[in-house]
Amino acid sequence: MKSLKKKLESSFDNIRVDITKDNRLTITIKKDGIISILSFLKKLGYEHLALISCVDWIEENEFELVYILSAYMENDKEYTEKEKRSIIIKTRISREKAEFMTIINIFENAEPYERELHELFGINFEGHPRLTPLFLEREYEIPPFRKDFDTRKYVKDVFDKIPTIEEREKNENH
């Protein structure tokens, strides 16, 4: 892990690498460097994109994208089952202009994750072939996982406004 840290720090600018646990590496990088660092790590053997996640930092007006990679290093002799390595890559994008580039060219399985983030956070991934709805049926004014989406108000406006059958009947007859 330490050798990997040195390697990363020497080959990338503007990067912060922390060893958060024995087998866990956290990389914080500016958004331009994501594609190059992901392809760099993929060549090293971190071939499994486990998750793309997003955190809404509403006070700082930023989204934090989190990419989690892990490795099946069968050819690496140093790698044993005990030390399953995972790498967490974090980057920040602006909240108002929530746009980022897609990483499908590197990791193909990023497609549903990016669709999900597009649906729940409203992040637009450039170059994604189909950003169509994935889970949700209704359209929301604010994407529902953003912090400024008021769920209770939404419930009051939508679900509580639907009358029961008895109420509807009463309204009809009067």
């Binding site: 949700l136 049926e137 419930v155 029961t164």
Partner: protein, 185 residues
């Protein structure tokens, strides 16, 4: 068979038949599915009560909705319910279909299922034990006996209102009204 009920059998055999051969379709929307395997297999053996799970809604006459109902799954629930032949009985299982349960402030969960389809009985709890299913079934027998489990008749009579509620949620529905031209009661 209980000898005391022989009179009832001769009086209305169809009703007794419905009562003791409930063919169930489980709509496994949420965590409630975890209670179904023990209740239909040997441990609790639902067949003692004449309950058999069936493959399609066309063969079923009891509809168990187990667990929370999201906006997306409500559509298949309505379609499944409309496909079932009469007489059909519905039971909401768990506290989520009753009033949202722990998802009471969720943006994507239906709060009151009985606004969209008629429900004959509820089983409260999070989760209810498998025994609760059988208690509910015995209650349902009483309701069928007294002809109080008439949700399917209500659906036919008040279809206009149910459809209006469904359309208020979804905007426009893809399928045509089930009882077209029966607007008047």
């Amino acid at each position: 068979m209980d000898r005391n009920q022989l009179k009832k059998w001769f009086k209305s055999p169809a009703k007794m038949g419905h009562k003791y051969s409930l063919h169930v379709i489980y709509f496994c929307t949420g965590c409630g599915i975890i209670e179904i395997p023990p209740s239909i297999t040997t441990r609790w053996d639902a067949e003692r009560f004449g309950i058999i799970p069936v493959a399609t809604p066309r063969q079923a006459n009891l509809f168990l909705i187990t667990g929370y109902v999201s906006v997306k799954t409500l559509k298949p629930i309505i379609r499944t319910y409309e496909q079932m032949p009469d007489p059909k009985f519905t039971v909401g299982f768990g506290s989520c279909p009753i009033n949202g349960g722990m998802y009471w402030d969720s943006y994507n969960t239906i709060k009151h299922l009985d606004k969209y389809i008629p429900i004959d009985g509820w089983i409260a709890g999070c989760m209810p034990r498998p025994e609760a299913i059988f208690i509910a079934v015995t209650h349902l027998w009483t309701l069928i006996d007294k002809e109080m489990a008439d949700g399917y008749k209500k659906y036919r009579e008040n279809y206009k209102y149910y459809r209006a509620n469904q359309e208020q949620l979804y905007g426009k529905l893809e399928w045509p009204p089930l009882f077209a031209g029966k607007d008047k009661k």
